[in-house]
């Protein structure tokens, strides 16, 4: 399975209008000027895949993930990200060719996950994706600045990385 589409609404710098974009099954490159919102797309992916730490998404608390109104716009009442999975190869254990996973958070920090519109728990999302995707301790997400941390790493911390993978 792969992500065929991402939808964002009210998430960080993505405003109140819902936006929807196709992704390549292979390599999609996100490009644009400094401060345009590229890393915010990465944060959106972290978010919808069950990210538990607002700080990882460069927010003090989850309510900071809501579009703050920018320049004279209305702040968003909630932030929502949806991923459309093409499940043609049936690697996701759901009897459906398209699987839509979404997550919405409101101003109070309350969070709702959905799988194909039905409400679900975060654990269900994690279990659904576990075999194919993000093992949370995994290295499939390399955030901006992570490479520099690896460069500066001391030998003990580097070995501990192996310990944790055992």
């Amino acid at each position: 399975a792969y992500v065929s589409r991402i939808e964002l609404r009210g998430f960080k710098s993505f405003g109140n209008l819902k936006v929807s974009f196709p992704l390549s099954r292979g390599l999609t490159a996100i490009v644009g000027p400094n401060g345009s919102g590229k890393s915010n797309v990465v944060d959106a992916l972290c978010f919808v895949l069950g990210g538990m730490s607002a700080k990882t998404m460069r927010a003090e608390r989850f309510s900071d993930l809501l579009f703050n109104g920018g320049n004279g716009q209305r702040p968003a009442p909630f932030a929502e990200v949806s991923l459309h999975f093409d499940n043609g190869d049936n690697t996701l254990p759901i009897n459906s060719t398209t699987v839509v996973i979404s997550r919405r958070v409101d101003r109070s920090g309350k969070c709702v996950y959905r799988i194909n519109k039905r409400r679900a728990s975060r654990q269900e999302i994690v279990d659904l994706l576990a075999r194919s995707m993000s093992s949370p301790g995994g290295y499939n997400f390399i955030m901006q600045g992570d490479v520099d941390r690896f460069i500066k790493m001391n030998p003990i911390d580097r070995r501990v990385i192996i310990d944790d993978l055992v």
Binding site: S36, V42, P155, D163
Partner: protein, 154 residues
């Protein structure tokens, strides 16, 4: 407990050496345990000899250190593969030639897995199947536009 560690270490070590020679052709890199008898009493060192250089300990340049760190990260990924990889600006400090080698490696992985790559560099963009352009408008809202590339450049 040590044998399970050694099994993991040896596999990642093999991936690291393979990936390092892909990124630094003619070069050689390996992971070394400070204490082979009791790994948990020591750390994990990286010995890297980039293309065309005699063994140098601790004398790598900024870009060489970045490339070596990338090889380590990619080895961890190869050990525990997933269907989706998200990489945000992993290419600072790299010169044109190293950028192209990293781009080539990522392009190859994108045949097996889905990869989303944020970059400021042309040589990285050029291996993508699809480009996502992001801009911010005057009202502080990010606008995305998507361009299918596969088949354009060939």
């Amino acid at each position: 407990k040590k044998s399970v560690f050694m099994q993991t270490f040896n596999e990642i070590s093999r991936y690291f050496s393979e990936i390092f020679s892909e990124l630094s052709p003619g070069g050689m890199g390996r992971l070394v345990l400070e204490n082979e008898e009791n790994p948990f009493d020591g750390g994990l060192e990286i010995e890297a000899k980039p293309t065309g250089k005699s063994t140098q300990v601790g004398a790598l340049s900024g870009g060489e250190k970045a490339l070596t760190a990338l090889a380590f990260i990619f080895a961890l990924q190869r050990f525990r593969p997933t269907a989706l990889y998200v990489l945000d600006e992993i290419d600072a400090h790299l010169d044109d030639r190293n950028l192209r080698r990293v781009a080539e490696l990522i392009r190859r992985s994108s045949r097996e897995s889905q990869v989303i790559l944020v970059t400021l560099h042309d040589s990285m963009m050029s291996v993508a199947d699809r480009l996502f352009g992001v801009t911010m408008d005057k009202s502080g809202v990010s606008n995305l536009f998507s361009v299918e590339l596969a088949g354009l450049a060939g």
